[in-house]
Every structure is written in C-alpha cells, then in structure tokens.
C-alpha cells in the first residue's frame, strides 16, 4: 500500500510504500488516550498466477476499534460489520445508510465511501476502489483517509498515527534522478538523512475513480528512516 503524509504545519507531503505479503496486518493508528485503533490487512493480486504478478499490494480489509466504547468496525471490499460488544450489524457496500449511536456515526455511501466520525471530531474516510469483476489480475481494494487527525492524542502511534503531530523535516540538494521526471533530493527527518524522490500519488476522497494528484517526496525502502523503527515493527497478529 501507498502511504501519503500531509505534514502538519508544512505545505508539503511525504509518501512511502509498505511492501509486505498479502495477509499481513499492519497497525496504522493506535491512540491509547482516545482508545481508537486502526489496522489494515494487505491483499495482493487475484489468485497465485506468478506470471501476472506485479507485486502491488493494497489494503483489502480494515479494522477500526474503540476500546473505550467496546466498538469495532471491520471493513472489507464486500461488507461492513459494525460490532458493539457481541452484537453485530452487517451492511453491504450497496447500502446508503447512516448509523448513529452515542459518540459515533457511520455513513456508508453506496459503492463509494464510508465515513466514520467520532464525537471528538476525528473522522475516517474509507474509499472503495472497484475494478472490473472479471479482471484477471486486479481486485477491489480500500483506501483509508484521516480527517482532523490533530484531534488524536500526542501519544498516537502506528504507521500513520505517528505523523499526526507536527514534526520537522528539510529537503535540499534537489538533483536529477534515474527518471528525468522525478528528481532526487536529500531529506533530513527524525535525525536521519535520506535520499528521497519527487513523485506523486492520488487522493481519492472526492472521486474514487479519478482522484486528485498529490505531489510528494517519496521515501524508499518501506519508509525506512522516516517511520519510527522498521515497518515490520508495525505488523500485528490480527485486525483486532
């Protein structure tokens, strides 16, 4: 999956990929204060056809939980399961429905996206990316966006959560890269000196099919040096 970090207080964006085997679950957000935790499970391409593999991975399943509310949401490309304690409510991506309960509202917009809004102003947007059902290689996947991330606590961690608080970085020595359209540069962040490449990703919150181009500095090697520790530190055994 691609990660896009719009750095708070800076008019710039950093991005990186995490390449792991399909089935791996990554911790994206972990906030011990609000109790909110978000995880994502990686999917690859359809089947095991080695000749068709491009190595691209995506999120196929997301888990959002609030330990204090005993609430969890499991989102797949097929369905959305809301769990309150032992009670489960199952919805489909074909629904247009708003579910409200104390401290939370969940809105599913048929075949497009869903918005999970917590009372304290934190919102998550999950976008359904649909591909042609009979496509030999690709399959549906999910996009995950955080709105008003600053409302999460300073103790928030995770592959995304660690970047919710302002942090500093510098980019200099912009120079031609291996691709003439994508210059390299040197970035200093978290006391690391990294070689980054100018690239672009897409923000699909407004339009799940076309998206909006976001120019970013791409950090290589699974975000090494940019993320705290190494990416395998964020592998967790299960969605919840």
């Amino acid at each position: 999956p691609h990660f896009i970090i719009q750095v708070p207080g800076k008019n710039d964006t950093i991005c990186f990929n995490i390449d792991e085997k399909p089935g791996t679950v990554l911790s994206l957000i972990q906030d011990p204060v609000t109790g909110i935790a978000v995880t994502g499970q990686i999917i690859g391409e359809k089947g095991n056809n080695a000749s068709s593999r491009t190595g691209k991975t995506y999120f196929g399943k997301l888990g959002i939980a609030n330990a204090w509310m005993d609430f969890r949401i499991e989102v797949t490309t097929e369905k959305i399961i809301l769990g309150n304690g032992d009670a489960l409510s199952t919805f489909s991506w074909l629904d247009t429905v708003t579910v409200t309960q104390t401290g939370l509202s969940v809105t599913i917009n048929r075949k497009k996206n869903m918005v999970v809004s917590f009372e304290d102003g934190i919102s998550f947007v999950i976008v359904l990316h649909q591909v042609w059902k009979k496509h030999p290689v690709h399959q549906d996947f999910l996009g995950f966006y955080v709105v008003d991330s600053h409302r999460m606590s300073a103790q928030t961690h995770g592959l995304l959560g660690q970047f919710f608080q302002p942090f500093d970085f510098k980019v200099f020595d912009v120079r031609p890269g291996s691709d003439p359209m994508k210059p390299d540069a040197t970035m200093v962040v978290k006391s690391h000196r990294l070689t980054v490449t100018r690239g672009s990703q897409k923000d699909y919150r407004k339009d799940a099919s076309v998206g909006t181009k976001v120019v970013c500095w791409f950090v290589h090697n699974n975000g090494e040096g940019f993320i705290d520790g190494v990416h395998t530190d964020y592998i967790v055994p299960s969605l919840f």
Binding site: L82, N84, A87, L88, S89, T90, F91, S92, L94, D95, T96, V97, T98, V99, T100, Q101, R110
Partner: protein
C-alpha cells in the same frame, strides 16, 4: 366413454396460470369442459383462493360466447341479487374454506355437446414471512383432466435468491417428474403438468391423485436493504434490511385460563409457552399474566430471561391450570401496567421494545365485559406505546373484537385453530414477532413529490418480513427519486437511503414489461384498499363513511371484488335463469357457509355475482 369423462362431462383442460411481478401475483384459473352426454348436464367449477386475494374477474364462455363479469357496488348488486333470490335463482358464491382459503363455486347447466369455459382471475400481494414469499394453490380436480397445468412465472427485479415448489400429493417419482422448477437472475418458473396417467390414484383407477396443497416459495436477493420501483407514475418501495442485531424484547404474555380453556387448549398453550421459553434470548424480559375471574401473575414485574429465570418460568407454565370465568379487561390492564412500569422504572434496557401478547378463547364474561369499554380502557392504558397482539383460540369468541382491539393498538390478531397443531401455530406466531430488528420505522419520501401514499410508519420491522409502501408521483417526469427509512436498532439509530435514477429504471422496465406493465399501479390499489378496509374496522361516523367511499371507488376502478363490491355475470339461457353470488367471507363466517344454490324456470336474463362481505 373417452378417458376423463365422468357422468357425461369431460374436463379436458384446467390451467392455473400465475404471473408474479415484484410480489404482486396475477392468477388465472381456466377450466374447459364439454358435455359428452346426450342431454343437458350441470358442470361445476370450484376454485380455492387465498383469503388475502381479491377476485378481479370471472368469465363464462358457452359455445364460444363469453359473458364477462362486471364489478358493481355491493348495494347495487345486492338489489339485483335479492330480486334474483326472490325469484329463486342463485347459483354460485365464495365461502371460507379452512384457515387460508376461500372457495369459489359456480355450476352451470350445459346443453348436450356444448362446451363451457370458466375463467377466474384473482390478484394478491405476496407477503414475506420468515424470509420467504409463499404462493398457495389448492389443487383438487374432481376428475382426471386431459390437460392439467400449473404454470407460474415469477419476475423479481432484485433477482431471485431461492425458488421451490412442493405439492402435498406428490408421492412418487412418476408424479415428481411432472414438476419442474427453475430460476436464474430475475426470472423463475414453476410448471406442474401431470399426464392423465400420472393423475390416476392407481394404474387402473379413474379417480384423481391430485388433491392437496401446491405451494411455491421464493425469496429475492437483498444486496441492499431497500428497493424502489417506479412504473407509469406509481412507485413501490420494498424494505427488508438484514444483518442487524435483534432489539431486546420486553414481553408480557396475558393468558386466558378460564374454564373454557380446559383440556386440550390449556395443554397446547402450556406446550407452546414451553417452546417459546426455549427460544427466549437472555437480553429479553418477560412475565406471565393469567386471567380467569381474577388475575394472577408469575412475577410482580418483568424479569430478565436468564437461564435460572427461564427454568423457573418453565415450572410455572407446567402448572398453569384452568379455572372459572373470563376477565379480559383486568388481565390486559395488568399486563399493560407491568410493561409501562418496567419502562418508567428503567427496569428494562432503554433500547428495547415492549410487546403485549394476549391469548384467549372466549368473550369477556366477568369484570368489565363490554367490548367497547375494554377497548377504551386498553387504548387509554397503552397510549400507542407498544403493540398488542391478540391470539384467538378456537371458534367461541368475538374475533372482530379481538382484531379491532389489536389493530387500534398497532398490533394484529391471529386465529389459533383448535387442532392438533395449535401449539405449533402459537409458536409460529411468536417466531414472527420474536426478532424485531428495528422499531419506530418511518419511510419518508420527497415532500410535494408524492400522492396517495400507503402506510409508511410501522412500530416494528421483524426479521424475515418486509415493509411495502406504494404511492403515486406528482410529476411522472422527475429525473430521480429518493426515499429515506429511519428506524431505531438494537444499538443505534439508522437511516437508509434509496435513490432511483429514472433513466436506469426505464431501461429496467423494458425488460420487465413483458409480464404486465401496470402491476405497480394495481399493487398500489390493492395495498391501499387492504389498508383502508383495515382502518375502516375501527373508524366511526364520517371517517368511516369517507374511508368506505374511498375503498369503494378504488375497488370499482380496479375491478377488485372486495367486501364493498360484487361481481355480476349475466348469462342468457333458454328457459332457465341462474344467479350466482360469491361472498368474500369475513372471519365471522368461518363456520357458517353462505352458499345458496337453486335454479328454476324463468324468462329473465340470469346473472352471476361474485361479491365480498
């Protein structure tokens, strides 16, 4: 005699043709017979149709001349009928037949060598119960029929998820091969076409094996909780969400233990309650209120359905005994008070729903026994806060009172037939209401964009059922249509939205038009009349007159034989006139046949009636 000829009459063809589009069933039963005798013979035509169906047409064709039916206001037709009766000329009608059916019977004298064709058409909206729609056909030809066929075509825009058909009389592979059923995508088909030999009760017999129930069950795909269809300016909205947790219930069982319940009834009640206790969920609350001359309760207040409480409840139920008289008023008021108090004292969860279920087998005969006063007391005590369901056990009761009482308190009444399966009937009712998924369900449509909406507010949505709302668009040329459904779930409040793109709808219509294009308009009319007739039961004065006028107008416009209309068929016949009346029997007529059959010499033109009571 040729095969299939009995007493000179050959029924050479009987076809039951069913076309179902979006749950709305249009059934045509056609029988063709010929008199092979050398003198005039009487030919009978019997059809058993669901009580929930409305007859829309009956035609009689003799020697190629068709005599179509015409629907008239009941009073107008009744005058004709009375005149006919005074002349001794009646010959056919509908009467209640068993639990689910009404029997339509007509006989006609057919000259030697003449052919007669009977064709009865009826329509009904199939209701979803326990996750499926059921179409019920009674098959009982009086003799072997050369061409016997049931041919059902189902078209469901949401796609068919399952389809099955079964006949109680199919006992061997030979007859089984006469039944075919298939479905794919939006279309389903069931065909039952036994040959003459397959119809025989034994290889050398001349009597028919075909005698029993033929049922078709199916359900539709539910990729989304709702589905809106719009045709010719009319819309229908089907709503049946699934995958939601069950809302906990607070249920008070108010049980009649008067002397009349003694013996089998009380035994079956105990059996049913024990089964119901097995199905209780731990989140539920319950209590038993027993009434005879006085009122006794299991507990002073509702208790949680914990394993220990349920065990105690079982012991209590096993010891229920019958005694003395019937004090419905006090029994119900005690149950209502208990449910109200549980809510006021926060004894039950805030997100729970209260249900009052009464089982009785007779009229109130002690305490407050005036039905109107009991209704008033109950109405004032419940104040619309929860539904009352009335189960009427056996025949010795005022069912209309129980129905009226339930309807005005947002519930419904159900008959429990005094039979070996009474405990199953009771249990079956409980299963219907045991799983509320939503409460206070409101279906909302764009203001100023719709007219003539059917009921759009329901206290509960039960798992396995379906809410159907229909109406008319003010502007047929709108580009899109939006419907919102709001309800309270077990854990949260939900708002479902359905949006319809009219261009997409038009494209879909081209595909489904082959069944019958005006089905949504007829579905809307059926549903409107059905709801008006129900509302009429509790209306008084001007309100009742207005409801009656509205229902009558629609019945006449859409050619439905309802309790307000009659159908008349006139048939000129040499030297003999016949008049038939077919009543749509109400619940009160269950045990009493209202059939008349006479004929006499007359020079007047005869006519047949099909009417509702």
């Amino acid at each position: 005699l040729p095969e299939g000829v009995v007493d000179g009459i050959e029924i050479y063809s009987t076809k039951i043709s069913c076309k179902v589009t979006s749950r709305f069933a249009h059934n045509v039963v056609t029988t063709r017979a010929v008199n092979r005798a050398d003198k005039a013979k009487e030919v009978s035509f019997d059809v058993e149709l669901p009580k929930t169906a409305f007859i829309t047409n009956f035609t009689l064709t003799i020697d190629g001349v068709t005599y179509p039916g015409s629907v008239k206001e009941k009073e107008v037709a009744q005058k004709q009928y009375e005149k006919a009766v005074s002349q001794g000329k009646t010959a056919g009608l509908v009467k209640a037949s068993g639990r689910k059916l009404e029997k339509f019977t007509v006989s006609v004298n057919v000259a030697a060598g003449s052919k007669v064709i009977f064709e009865l058409t009826y329509e009904e909206l199939l209701k979803r119960n326990k996750g499926k729609y059921e179409m019920y056909l009674k098959v009982q030809p009086k003799q072997l029929v050369r061409h016997f066929e049931i041919d059902a075509h189902i078209f469901e825009p949401q796609g068919i998820s399952m389809l099955d058909a079964d006949a109680s009389f199919i006992t061997n592979d030979l007859l089984g091969s006469a039944l075919t059923k298939s479905f794919s995508g939006k279309k389903g088909h069931v065909s039952f076409k036994p040959s003459l030999d397959q119809q025989r009760s034994c290889p050398t017999c001349t009597d028919s094996l075909l005698n029993g129930d033929f049922t078709i069950v199916y359900d539709v795909n539910r990729e989304s909780p709702g589905n809106v269809q719009i045709v010719n300016g009319y819309f229908v909205h089907f709503f049946a969400p699934q995958g939601l947790p069950v809302v906990p219930k607070n249920i008070a069982f108010v049980i009649d233990v008067s002397g009349s319940m003694s013996g089998r009834k009380i035994q079956q009640t105990r059996e049913a309650l024990l089964k119901i206790l097995d199905d209780m969920k731990e989140e539920d609350y319950l209590n038993f209120i027993l009434f005879s001359t006085g009122v006794t309760t299991w507990k002073d207040h509702l208790v949680k359905a914990t394993p220990a409480n349920l065990e105690e409840a079982r012991a209590f139920v096993k010891n229920i005994r019958d005694r003395s008289m019937t004090n419905i008023n006090d029994g119900l008021l005690r149950g209502i008070e208990m449910l109200n108090k549980a809510r006021e004292d926060h004894l039950v969860p805030e997100r729970s729903t209260s249900i009052l279920v009464m089982l009785t087998d007779g009229d109130a005969n002690t305490g407050e026994s005036r039905p109107e006063k009991i209704q008033e007391n109950v109405r004032n005590a419940i104040r619309g806060k929860f539904p009352l369901y009335n189960l009427g056990f056996g025949n010795n009761l005022n069912y209309n009172f129980l129905e009226s009482l339930a309807l005005e308190n947002h519930g419904f009444a159900r008959r429990i037939y005094e039979d070996s399966d009474a405990s199953l009937q009771l249990q079956g009712f409980y299963e219907e209401v045991a799983n509320p998924l939503l409460t206070n369900v409101e279906l909302e449509y764009p203001e100023n964009a719709i007219l003539d909406l059917t009921r759009n507010s329901y206290p509960h949505f039960y798992d396995g059922s379906e809410i159907v709302v229909a109406g008319r668009l003010v502007d047929r040329n709108v580009d899109n249509f939006k419907a919102d459904v709001k309800g309270h779930g077990a854990l949260n409040d939900l708002t479902f939205t359905e949006e319809v793109d009219m261009k997409e709808m038009d494209a879909a219509l081209k595909e489904q038009g082959y069944i019958f294009g005006d089905y949504i308009e007829r579905l809307w009319a059926y549903l409107t009349i059905e709801q008006l007739l129900e509302k009429r039961k509790n209306a008084r004065g001007d309100e009742k007159e207005n409801i009656t006028a509205e229902a009558l107008e629609l019945s006449l416009k859409y050619h439905f034989v309802t309790p307000l209309t009659s159908m008349v068929v006139t048939k000129p016949e040499d030297n003999e006139d016949q008049t038939a009346i077919a009543d749509k029997p109400g619940e009160e007529a269950i045990s009493a046949s209202t059939a008349y059959l006479t004929s006499q010499q007359s020079s007047h033109s005869p006519y047949y009636y099909v009417d509702g009571d």
